[in-house]
């Protein structure tokens, strides 16, 4: 059974169609990429999946349970974590406090050993030495890692990453790629939106393509890279 099933979801803002009849499945224990040109509706899909935006139509099921238009904090507590396109950490609080807040509000906050969970997450993203620093004082890339650690400390079964490597240096792209591979190996499912196609094809086993608010294609990276409709959407008709 797929961990996430999206069936015919749609969203309009007045007369503007942001997402129209999009359906796909996210398989358990692999990374699924959601790609498409700017304005294709990827972030709107993410927002609907995590309850940040209401879907006008369609249904979303997580582990067999309908979560369509459920409040975002309830979706999070079911086991779905997410990061944002513009990195979002609590800048006035220390890195450790950011993780403590995430841990305390997870589906099953640890009565004992919360510190272990926090330190494991910090260790995974190699940010232990920055634990006492205010999150707002870190570099953009470091804040991306803290944001990921905040999600990890909640021990979700599905992590949704909105442009995880946008704006970060090539060294950090490698590091993030390595961390995400380790997460997949540990059984966590990933759904990620990303413009870096090399990163997506290197990490994902399944790719969903959106264009102009609609589903264009889905398949393995090889199938997607050979699909003429996808090539046209990304490169134009003269490719």
């Amino acid at each position: 059974m797929p961990i996430l099933e999206v069936s015919g979801i749609g969203k309009r803002y007045g007369g503007i169609v942001a997402v129209e009849d999009v359906s796909f499945k996210v398989k358990r224990g692999i990374a699924t990429g959601l790609i498409g040109p700017n304005g294709a509706g990827k972030t709107t899909v993410f927002d609907m999946l995590t309850g940040m935006q209401r879907a006008d139509r369609g249904s979303i099921r997580f582990e067999g349970q309908t979560i369509t238009n459920l409040a975002s904090h309830k979706i999070s507590r079911l086991g779905i974590g997410r990061t944002f396109q513009s990195v979002r950490v609590f800048g006035n609080l220390s890195v450790l406090e950011n993780l403590n807040i995430a841990e305390a509000n997870s589906a099953a906050p640890a009565r004992h050993g919360a510190t272990d969970r926090v330190h494991r997450a910090l260790a995974l993203v190699e940010m232990e030495e920055h634990a006492g620093k205010p999150a707002g004082a870190l570099s953009y890339g470091q804040r991306k890692l803290v944001e990921l650690a905040m999600v990890l400390v909640q021990e979700p079964r599905l992590i949704m990453l909105d442009e995880p490597v946008a704006g970060v240096n090539p060294g950090l792209v490698e590091r993030l790629s390595d961390i995400l591979r380790r997460l997949i190996d540990s059984g966590i499912s990933l759904l990620l939106v990303e413009h870096n196609i090399r990163f997506v094809t290197g990490l994902c086993d399944h790719i969903v393509v959106l264009a102009a608010a609609r589903m264009l294609a889905d398949g393995t990276p090889e199938e997607i890279m050979r699909n003429p409709d996808v090539l046209e959407a990304f490169l134009g008709s003269d490719h």
């Binding site: 940040m52 904090h73 309830k74 979002r88 006035n92 807040i101 509000n105 997870s106």
Partner: protein, 322 residues
């Protein structure tokens, strides 16, 4: 919670201990009823400022209706004594509960409001209470308010006793507010909601429940402060529900340093004592001086005294490292 260096923690503990010794020694050093009286009121305002800071400084909710919580707490305590003959000691939790419930009642309908809109809505709530208190003569005795004599805390006839009661209740309340704000996951979650609601929701935080909790907690402590005030002064009237009370608390917190709890509490004590001194010169000058001080701080030290000191300390520490 912030990881304060051990030296900083020790300095803070020494400062608290020195202040506690001074506060306890005042009735011996200056056994003057007037001095004890204004010190008591200063402590009540310190508690009120700390409760307001919990709401704005930690939960990010701008309330200009704090006088409503304060006055309601005072009226609830007075009604309990005046109409039902209950012990004024019971008036303290009753005042707190009244403030807390009013906090929930304000919190629910104003959840979607932000910044100036929330401030106006809370101001309107407090003003409604003031109008009710002024006009519902059968229940509130209108603009006369309640005379609560003999004042419970002075039953023994010793002004020092009532001073100690106020000192104990207000100090404990400020300590509890500080502990909640700085050392509990609830306080940290308030800060998360204040800093980024969207991120907070995505981490499983029920933003609505936490905002209501912040209003309830802040209202509770403001209500206890109101009850304490009513029994300490021996009077509660509609003027305590007026915007002047709120503005005084806003000024105290802004000058002390919003988001620090201790800053607003200390500033409240200093400003209240200063305003009493200035009142001796003439009430107009006193109000003008506080207004001028507020403008001075908003322009030159927007983070308040506590925020400025904290920044200086951080900068000094960085210099020492390099």
């Amino acid at each position: 919670m912030m990881n304060q260096p051990a030296s900083s923690r020790s300095a803070a503990m020494i400062a608290v201990a020195v202040l506690a010794i001074i506060a306890l020694a005042v009735p011996r050093l200056a056994p003057n009823e007037f001095i004890l009286s204004i010190l008591g009121f200063a402590m009540i305002y310190a508690m009120l400022a700390a409760s307001w800071d919990l709401l704005i400084g930690f939960a990010g909710l701008v309330s200009f209706g704090h006088a409503g919580f304060f006055g309601l707490g005072g009226y609830a305590a007075a009604l309990a004594t005046y109409h039902f003959g209950l012990s004024p000691w019971l008036g303290l939790p009753i005042g707190g509960l009244a403030g807390g419930v009013f906090g929930i009642l304000i919190g629910i309908p104003t959840l979607r409001l932000r910044a100036v809109y929330l401030a106006l809505a809370t101001l309107a709530f407090a003003e409604s209470l003031r109008i009710i208190a002024t006009n519902w003569h059968d229940l509130t005795r209108g603009s006369l308010g309640f005379n609560l004599h003999p004042t419970f805390f002075r039953l023994s006839g010793e002004a020092a006793n009532s001073y100690y009661v106020v000192l104990l209740v207000s100090s404990l309340s400020i300590a509890v507010i500080y502990y909640i704000a700085r050392h509990t996951s609830l306080g940290m979650t308030f800060q998360a909601v204040r800093d980024d609601e969207l991120r907070a929701r995505s981490l499983g935080i029920d933003v609505v429940r936490h905002k209501i909790a912040a209003f309830a907690l802040s209202g509770f402590f403001a209500g206890v402060a109101g009850a304490l005030y009513a029994h300490y002064l021996g009077l509660i009237s509609p003027s305590e529900l007026g915007p002047a009370t709120t503005m005084l608390v806003v000024a105290m917190s802004t000058i002390g340093g919003i988001g620090t709890i201790i800053g607003p509490a200390l500033a409240a004590i200093v400003l209240y004592l200063a305003s009493e001194l200035l009142r001796m010169i003439g009430s107009t000058y006193g109000q003008v001086a506080i207004g001028a001080l507020l403008i001075f701080f908003v322009i030159l030290f927007p983070e308040g005294v506590a925020g400025w000191l904290s920044r200086q300390r951080a900068s000094w520490r960085n210099k020492r490292k390099t």
